[in-house]
Symmetry: D2
């Protein structure tokens, strides 16, 4: 089902010589959109919703920021590196914050939070790598 | 890197007994967001942009609709089936329209359009399957 | 600060002779994005979050669907009327569902829900009007 | 039709004592989503699309970033100031870049670009003001 790599390969004028980093970043962003969107819904389905409020808020912000970051990186034509860098930094920051909060709940047996924490960390690292690979 | 299946499995109260159809639909939606977002950018990088205008417009609409459809299905708690059905129908319709347009350009050697057409068709089918599996 | 009407007036080839209905629909959609996004956050800040779970879920779906519907209508070039009609129907349906739920909480003194119900109803009506004005 | 101010006023525990700056920022963000979305579609409807490619790309990025920034600020509960600051900086940066490009076309008589440039500049300023008002 996966079409991303072939899309990036067939782009007429991509900005990046190394499409693998961009591909990994886009994938990690949308993977994190999925995880955080499902995690917020799962948190709302827990018996003690009150204790999940901080997690739900971070999940919502994280899903939104990852979604727009994924879309930006999925446009491979040359872009203003400053904008991309700030967006990638915002994305890495919310992913770390959300991953930390989810990790806490994961340690207390909340399995969807543990998995979501994984997705958040992977996305933070992929955004860092992408920021480091930006053509200035 | 993929966390979606584990997220859906660990949700406390999912609406659907069959998570595989939902999982396939979510994946196809975000796969199509990626493909259409990259395709619009690739079309803008073609020498003859003028001939790609209809394709770019469909790509933009398709990426937006697939994105919101993916987010809705990624919230597995019980939902109003009527809303989901209409959203899935809108998504299948734009995916078919975008896939048809991309297919035309693909036949004339525009490879990113050919790949994008694949992603669109796969998403249309996944939305049809999901609509058929909705718990009323 | 409002630029929407001038944007629609200066579009080279809009599909609609009557830009007022489109303008009202776009405005109502983004007004509802704001209301539902703030309402979900406000519900999460209530003492008894548990009783707000259904409202939060509808707020999240409604904000997402209104956002994409507003973007689609904000692209005035001719579009496939079937896709727009389904998207407008999905939007009106979620706005009515979300408005009904918010209205219940509004009657029990939850003021942000009462205001959000207003925004949802206005958006449902604007989407109905827009669907009726679509050029087939 | 406008419900935003009443939504912010009735939030149980907003982070900001001064809701006017947040309200102006949210409004400017969604105003810019509308302007940039319509501008990209209008650029695609111009006779010489080729000369509008850079503008279309900036419009698309700007609409996406403004949309997510508006949603984040529309959640008034206390948030991580670092994430918000980075997101507001990314938003101000893309608004300036998009406003500069639109301004050029506006000077050559492209009226929708002139209006869009206004919306972009207003949003950049509103994001700067909001960043300055963040509670650390």
């Amino acid at each position: 089902m996966d079409h991303l790599d072939r899309m990036l390969e067939t782009h007429p004028h991509p900005a990046h010589s190394d499409g693998d980093i961009a591909s990994a970043c886009i994938r990690a962003c949308f993977d994190c959109v999925e995880a955080c969107t499902t995690c917020a819904d799962a948190c709302l389905a827990e018996d003690d919703v009150q204790s999940m409020v901080a997690c739900i808020r971070l999940d919502l912000d994280c899903a939104d920021i990852c979604g727009v970051t994924g879309r930006l990186i999925a446009r491979p034509s040359p872009r203003d590196a400053d904008v991309l860098r700030l967006q990638l930094q915002a994305c890495a920051a919310i992913c770390r914050a959300c991953g930390d909060e989810c990790e806490k709940h994961g340690r207390h047996g909340m399995e969807h939070c543990r998995v979501c924490a994984d997705a958040c960390r992977a996305c933070a690292e992929a955004c860092d790598a992408m920021a480091g690979a930006l053509v200035p």
